[in-house]
Symmetry: C2
Subunit: 217 residues, 2 copies
């Protein structure tokens, strides 16, 4: 019976992480539509996704405490628990950052927060961030070490887009101070979101290989 | 002997956290001087502090893995290990955010990144953030539950200052787009820095009382 409970709790932890990762993808999609299509009705589902991720994060943290206290895992089981703690934290932040993006859109509604000039770059950032979230959800499910390692090193695209975005926000910018600040903040939110997706990739790589992938997010 | 090694590793972990918290205070002080006094020679010590904090964070993470695998702690020992993991992550971010603040100052040098109009609010944010970092370092040392709980709820000042700062960044702003973006980013960095200091307070409160202080940072 003890062994069954043991396995059940690990399955439960894996299940929580999988649900979190799918909810994070849902959240960033709603947030990006809210922002880029000026779609007010996309804000509530973004917030709902963020709240769900937070609730799952607290549940995962609780389960981690129980697992460590009762099962005293070692080796790969311990790695799973440690990686789960970190990934759960990363995904909680991703949900929150999606909320921040939706909050920017609602603060300016019905005016678009992103002026046409910055639209293509912000759209590319949204797509890159969503792709990273989808990839992190996938490697979490498959635990394929090659894909995990690739994801762990995969934030060059976002970095280049952030640089392009900030290059617009100079003396030539013609859309006013508030729009500049909005675009800068949104750029930063997508950048951090992508960083945390990469963080999830690093934790999956650690979980599977036992090696820590260096790099600060 | 086993008991001695056990105690030694816990002392080592506590020592690492104490060093991190002091280095974080040093880092934010250098960063704020770099930014507010346009002091180029304050940038290198900010970066050095950030790198030290990151190195200590990696060391703490390593020690946490060893402690969990070899000592299989329970009850208050387990709480210390879990809280240490989270606090170490918070402080690593604080070191990095101090670096980001110094980076803004250096990108505009010798021009001040913060125009006179925004200077008093940014200075107040810097002081509030530094005070929170000092308090988090103190509660980590004393583990006084009352102070820890106070710190865990103590980010109202920073939130009010952030709102004041962003209220300047509207159509009336006369210092150009880039300065607006710089001030917004710096405000955001101090805000996040303060959030993580509050996070440290929450973990000390959890460590001492066993209760989770709710709230998302």
């Amino acid at each position: 019976v003890r062994r069954d409970v043991h396995l059940e709790r690990f399955d439960q932890l894996t299940g929580l992480l999988a649900r979190m990762s799918r909810t994070v993808v849902t959240g960033i999609r709603h947030a990006s539509t809210a922002l880029l299509e000026v779609a007010r009705d996309e804000v509530a589902p973004t917030m709902a996704a963020g709240n769900t991720v937070s609730a799952l994060h607290r549940e995962a943290d609780q389960l981690v405490s129980v697992l460590l206290a009762r099962q005293q895992p070692v080796a790969s089981d311990l790695r799973l628990v440690l990686a789960a703690m970190r990934m759960s934290g990363d995904m909680d932040r991703m949900g929150r950052l999606a909320e921040h993006i939706a909050e920017v859109s609602i603060a300016r509604y019905p005016r678009p927060a992103v002026p046409p000039e910055a639209h293509p770059i912000v759209r590319a950032m949204a797509e890159a961030a969503t792709t990273l979230a989808e990839k992190s959800s996938l490697v979490l499910a498959t635990r394929d070490p090659i894909s995990a390692m690739q994801l762990a090193l995969d934030d060059d695209v976002t970095d280049a887009l952030v640089r392009q975005l900030f290059a617009l926000l100079t003396a030539e910018w013609r859309h006013g101070t508030q729009a500049a600040v909005d675009v800068a903040m949104v750029g930063r939110y997508y950048e951090r979101f992508a960083d945390h997706a990469v963080g999830v990739g690093r934790q999956v790589a650690y979980l599977v290989t036992g090696n820590v992938v260096s790099g600060r997010i």
